[in-house]
């Protein structure tokens, strides 16, 4: 657990490893974070980020966000932009849970109105949004309709009546990556995904009822514009992705790339989890098209879950979801690769930006933002542990330094195995209940793995992104109810 001696400070919250740090590096490693967070990062962050720096076509630097920690191939919290002509695409640079992401939803309810119904609300959410091992959604899709999910993402969901056009405007890329091609996806992946739309999943995925207390508002004007406009306002946040479907897509292509790297691609295998293909190759393009399908399935998944949340609130409070002021603030991915245009050395270029456990954070004025957020910058959602709360932030102009990327969560500090040894799920559930946080978990062992002490301090991470100029804090959100996968 120590940063390399050659890591040097190049900014208030920015550190760098030169290209000479390891043989083969094409660009430096740039790590964002406070001295404390960077000092506490596990050493694999630096090893993995420097491995990423050797990949063909990487531009500017191999970045690590303030919440970076060990991952498969890339560190989680890793960002790498590749030239689209000479660069590679890597499943390990995207994450196996493709388009794992966050959605934050506002309500017009206040804490006092929800407190007496909290148990009923959490139980209903746990029932209507299936979570845990083998969870199956209420939708039974056939392959024809699943192809629409893969092509159209959240736009399919809204067409089916699960949401509104306003939800799409408040979703990254309007809930649809346009380069999706269902023909690039294996029959196995499709079979795995058919019953998974509308499910939360397991591991660190959750659905939370949160409160925006007045003392947690860091930027009142931005908070109001985003929809936080009452004291002790009730919010709903959830974290999930493309379930087994995305995993199968990533696994299929990892196996394919590992077979082709030493032969057809002539690429060295530094770490098998860093398997990759030239983006311009047929296989690279096919993975990108399949990855976009998984990203779209994930957008559809979160859109369907939002629909279920609206139904549950309407049932529990006996009022229409519109009357309850339920509106999506934003839905943002943190495991993707996207073709984007960025200025590098004064020249605009098309790049393939890998963000793995990193959130896109467009600044005020960015042309791809919806009118609602053109002046504020893009909402950014950083999920913390169920004990420490989460943050709503916004993109800022100085975020150009990381290709408009910021942190995504608080990052683990210990293994799941160790967390389970330190606390039992039932005891943790009781402790949380004493602190006013009602938890429904699909698995008690899984709950123990997600204990707050297994994660970094989310407040420190959010503050570090601000210090590093990647995003700015808007509001701290505190959990009162949690459905855990």
């Amino acid at each position: 657990m120590a940063a390399p001696a050659s890591l040097r400070r190049v900014g208030e919250a920015c550190f760098e490893l030169d290209v000479g740090y390891r043989p083969g590096m094409r660009v430096p490693v740039r790590v964002f974070g406070s001295e404390k967070l960077v000092g506490e990062m596990d050493d694999q962050v630096f090893v993995q980020a420097s491995n990423v720096a050797t990949l063909p076509g990487i531009v500017e630097a191999s970045f690590a966000m303030p919440d970076a920690h060990w991952g498969y191939g890339f560190p989680i919290g890793g960002v790498a932009a590749m030239d689209v002509e000479t660069g590679v695409i890597s499943p390990g640079g995207i994450g196996f849970d493709i388009n794992c992401g966050m959605r934050l939803v506002r309500t017009s309810l206040q804490h006092a109105e929800v407190a007496p119904r909290l148990r009923e609300l959490v139980d209903a959410l746990a029932e209507r949004v299936p979570a845990g091992v083998g969870a199956r959604g209420f939708l039974r899709l056939d392959e024809t309709e699943f192809a629409e999910v893969m092509r159209d993402g959240a736009q399919w969901a809204v067409r089916r009546g699960f949401g509104t056009p306003d939800d799409l405007a408040r979703t990254e890329s309007e809930g649809r990556f346009p380069d999706a091609d269902p023909d690039a996806v294996s029959p196995a992946a499709i079979e795995r995904g058919l019953a998974q739309v509308g499910t939360l999943g397991s591991g660190n995925h959750y659905l939370e009822i949160q409160i925006a207390h007045p003392e947690g508002i860091a930027d009142p004007a931005l908070a109001r514009t985003f929809g936080i406009d009452q004291p002790d306002q009730v919010m709903v946040m959830f974290h999930c992705g493309s379930r087994g479907f995305g995993h199968q897509v990533a696994t299929d292509f990892l196996h394919l790339f590992l077979r082709l790297m030493p032969t057809r691609f002539g690429l060295p295998v530094i770490d098998r989890e860093l398997a990759c293909a030239p983006f311009a190759s047929d296989e690279g393009r096919r993975y990108y098209a399949a990855m976009c399908c998984a990203a779209n399935m994930s957008f559809a998944n979160r859109q369907v879950i939002l629909h279920r949340i609206r139904e549950v609130f309407a049932d529990v409070f006996g009022r229409d979801a519109g009357e309850l002021g339920i509106r999506s603030i934003y839905d943002v991915a943190h495991n993707t690769a996207k073709r984007e245009r960025h200025r590098v050395g004064g020249v605009e270029r098309e790049l393939l930006v890998h963000r793995k456990g990193a959130t896109r954070a467009f600044p005020p004025g960015h042309p791809e933002l919806p009118p609602e957020y053109r002046e504020t910058g893009q909402p950014v959602i950083i999920g913390g542990s169920m004990e420490t709360g989460s943050w709503l932030l916004a993109g800022v102009a100085s975020g150009a330094a990381s290709f408009w990327s910021t942190a995504h969560g608080s990052g683990r500090t210990m293994s799941r195995t160790r967390a389970r040894k330190l606390v039992r799920g039932r005891a943790l559930q009781d402790q949380l209940a004493e602190r006013g946080i009602l938890v429904r978990a699909a698995s008690m062992a899984g709950l123990a793995e997600e204990a707050g002490f297994a994660y970094k301090d989310v407040d420190e991470v959010a503050a570090a992104t601000e210090l590093a100029g990647l995003s700015r804090r808007v509001a701290h959100l505190v959990p009162i109810g949690n459905v855990k996968g």
Binding site: G134, H255, R272, E273, S415, T417, R418, G446
Partner: protein
């Protein structure tokens, strides 16, 4: 040496195991037992009402083990089947081959105590190596 496995402390967000066996055939079977034990807390309660066969080819033994475990992950997640390998025949070489007969039953939350939701076997730290007179495999599961 009899075939066996143990879970070991892995990296931060995963579950890792090491399997040991006198032969490669038994090693792959032991790895399938480890995967089953990661998925349910009472693997002994998994009956043998379903049978399937599997034939795979990969460039080397390690990728073959990875593919084998990922096929089992797929069968559990897509088809709800809890399976273990009853017989495995592994041919080392380049490429390496495997033929396996699998047995198990559909997942039943009433009888099977679900443990980790294994999403994939990973290539991280993946090793198949000689150990004394037998073999040893190290595998990390993404959960």
């Amino acid at each position: 040496m009899t075939a066996h496995f143990e879970f070991v402390e892995g990296a931060t967000s995963d579950l890792a195991f090491v399997a040991h066996a006198p032969t490669l055939d038994d090693l792959f079977a032991a790895a399938s037992e480890a995967l089953l034990a990661a998925s349910v807390e009472n693997p002994d309660a998994v009956a043998s009402s379903e049978q399937q066969t599997l034939a795979l080819e990969e460039p080397d033994l390690e990728l073959l083990l990875l593919r084998f475990l990922n096929e089992l992950v797929f069968l559990r997640d897509a088809r709800g089947l809890l399976l273990r390998a009853r017989h495995v025949r592994v041919s080392a070489g380049s490429p390496a081959h495997l033929e396996a007969s699998l047995e198990g039953e559909p997942l039943d939350p009433g009888r099977h105590v679900l443990a980790a939701d294994v999403k994939a076997a990973t290539a991280h730290g993946l090793r198949v190596e000689r150990e004394g007179e037998g073999f040893r495999a190290s595998v990390t599961l993404d959960v």
